[in-house]
Subunit: 351 residues, 2 copies
Amino acid sequence: MATAKGYAAESADSKLAPISFERREPRPDDVSIEIDYCGVCHTDIHFAQNDWGMTEFPVMPGHEIIGRVTAIGPDVTDYKVGDTVGVGCMVDSCRSCSACESGLEQYCLDGMTGTYNGVDRHDGSITYGGYSDKVVVSERFVVKVPEKLDPAAAAPILCAGITTYSPLRHYGVKAGDKVGVIGMGGLGHMGVKFAKALGAEVTIFTRSEAKVSEAKKQGADHVIISTDDRQMKAAAESFDFMLDTVPVQHDLNPYLNCLKYDGTHILVGLLEPVDPALQAGALVMKRRVLGGSLIGGMPETQEVLDFCAEHGITCDVEMLDIHNINDAYERMKKGDVKYRFVIDMQTLKAA
Amino acid sequence: MATAKGYAAESADSKLAPISFERREPRPDDVSIEIDYCGVCHTDIHFAQNDWGMTEFPVMPGHEIIGRVTAIGPDVTDYKVGDTVGVGCMVDSCRSCSACESGLEQYCLDGMTGTYNGVDRHDGSITYGGYSDKVVVSERFVVKVPEKLDPAAAAPILCAGITTYSPLRHYGVKAGDKVGVIGMGGLGHMGVKFAKALGAEVTIFTRSEAKVSEAKKQGADHVIISTDDRQMKAAAESFDFMLDTVPVQHDLNPYLNCLKYDGTHILVGLLEPVDPALQAGALVMKRRVLGGSLIGGMPETQEVLDFCAEHGITCDVEMLDIHNINDAYERMKKGDVKYRFVIDMQTLKAA
């Protein structure tokens, strides 16, 4: 085992603070990684605060990990020492069910193992995430980071990126489609980049006039103020897809009405009951579809990194000293980040 | 113009009663039809009672029409006098939008013209439905009834049939799929027949133990009592599709949980707000889809009749004397029909 450092929360009320702990002994198919960068996702905050009532404390968040390989097990075939690699939201799954065999490990019938707060399938320990100097992960759950990509700005591709890329591909967005992106945070701004790269005409829906210029800067062809009934009515039945990244309850019905017949509204952020109530007639009368999507499988996580390298896409990031992680959480709660904090892990090593 | 007879409601409170009226002068592309049979759909009751607040009185319901061609206009190419033909839920559309050009006239961007209570696009009159001895319809909205089909039992295929057939095809049900059918009325029992004919393994979900033997008689491979939590839990994540024919508010969440990842829940009956609230997490966490579907386009309406002839499928019907139409409505409200009333129009002619 190797002694590691990191930041963890001891309870829902406590702030994140430095701890030392032991990373597990590498197994034959494991890649040992020295972490350089780790993106900060809203899910990290939810787990640290135990918002979903499922946190095992202490919890060490972080599932947008970029680092370099420092050692490989004897069964590792795809990586060598020195490679720049990434680790996203999962570190294991059953590997043998129909989902895993289809490269959709996120839908593993036996449940995927989360990068943090998951239960290790071999030793039953609770997994610790990427707010750390090192990590040990089976090579199946490691991806290569193309040389062309800035590794810090690539970190959020492993969650915010794949979460928006995967549904755009799965639900069939293609050149010429009219795509609406709802929400302009970490996920939304990546959704715009991907939809544009796929050749779509992209409209950002935002509640605030103040965000229009920023939306245009992100590459949106059009901006609709979603609180303006006149603009929303003018957009009726004109979209092929809506990519809905909003993680809190909101009214889906005005957006459904903006879809053409056979249009698709994709949820990637909303996990709560739909309130106000969904108007079923909006689906039936126009054969519209309301679909969901969860991150992406390992082959597609590699694909999105390669796609980003090919199209020059990275996340807009603000680099973070890990000592400021608690302040960063407060700023994220206020939406005060464009668009993702990424921890520079040198700041941990220097501590 | 030709004088016609039929049954109509004068107001939301009145019963259906006989009236005489003038059918419109045939246009060059029109087919004149003597009606032999007309199925009775729940929608007929909703319009007669003005449940949806959109009825123009007097209203003459009926959109599952089977009859024989008595005359054709000079531009008619596909029908000749004597042909047995059908007319379903639509009698017109704009014919030039992308939906119409795709044979999806039910999603016409300018709105389809309903077989009854619709506004005629040429003369602005309100359309009268099939509870009548004759009707005049443009040939684009007429279908051929294959000789192999019993014409009376074929009538409900024009609404109950196409409404269930179309989404099973559109959403991609194929041999070996596990399909659940929710609701065992006019639509549900047709859904079972189609899903079986497509090679699926079919489970009927019913609230009542008393309906199990009837469900098996309809061809279901399995029956699940939806009010039995133990049975519902045992069915978790095991279905590829749910065909939900229930036309009133009901809890979708237990059914969503019965779908595999990538499973599809298809609404064909529900037009109201979803209550209890839809759990968005059930879509996101397993990439499930909630979709709708509305009847079917004209090419597919012909297709379903041909499919029925090929597979020996008809609707289970109870023949009705039109003088008993008001009693039939009362029985339908209690679910007391297996599975569709069909008016024998000889009883109108004999009156």
